[in-house]
Symmetry: C2
Subunit: 146 residues, 2 copies
């Protein structure tokens, strides 16, 4: 019958693991009063893939209205600048400020520390393979991956 064990499916494992890691990341971010999605938004801007808030919403897979509140908070922190696009005054163009770049770097460092903690004891080779494979999957899933 080819019985499948739920816990060994990628769907389930990535889901549960992802939830735990997101929680940990969230805890680290508490110091900055940020949520993972705020940092995700910074990363989208840093990648240069986005311009308008709607672009960001599509890339992040969230409702446009959520981007509004995320951007509100980040603007308040001075991490992003919000300007009307002169060519189309309906669009709000978000750009990363120097502070925003620093903030993103700090958060990326925090994530890297969590990575190290997670991978402790794992062989270096396996870690690199994992990173690469996940990158491929992220791309195939339409997620920002580099």
């Amino acid at each position: 019958m080819n019985a499948v064990k739920l816990t060994s499916t990628l769907t389930f494992r990535l889901g549960t693991l992802g939830a735990v890691l997101t929680d940990r990341f969230s805890a680290r971010l508490a110091a900055h009063d940020l949520k993972p999605k705020h940092v995700g938004l910074l990363a989208v801007l840093d990648s240069g893939a986005a311009a308008s808030q709607l672009d960001v919403a599509r890339i992040m897979n969230v409702a446009p209205s959520l981007v509004v509140s995320l951007a509100d908070r980040l603007e308040e922190l001075g991490a992003v600048r919000r300007e009307r696009d002169p060519a189309d005054r309906r669009r709000q163009v978000l750009t990363l400020t120097a502070e925003g770049r620093d903030l993103l770097a700090a958060c990326a460092r925090a994530a890297a520390e969590l990575d190290a903690e997670l991978l402790e004891g794992l062989d270096q080779d396996g870690a690199e393979t994992l990173r690469a494979t996940l990158g491929t999957l992220a791309r195939r899933t339409g997620l920002p991956a580099d």
Copy 2:
């Protein structure tokens, strides 16, 4: 400076990928009127690791009160049986029924289908390595992994 790119950290990648996959799984489960956590509970029972609701709560990393409502729903579906432990009448012992096992199997199959979709085009070897590595990480994280 060793600048770290956020999107290439496992923390971020596993987090975002996990969220997407959980959404997809959730969509599949809608047919059964179940959420991923319901299925997670079934899996915990199937593993034989748990007995009381509190055990389940600890394993799943959720509040005991949440287990109550999850179990309510599953009992209503006839997927689990709920009995007071004769040796300690405070404890509610959850056990999988035959229907519960079938339901879990169906959900595991759905997850496996999503896996196939996700891995389409990926080399078989990489997929198996990925599965194994994630299993290791799950174990190191205190998550149910076989």
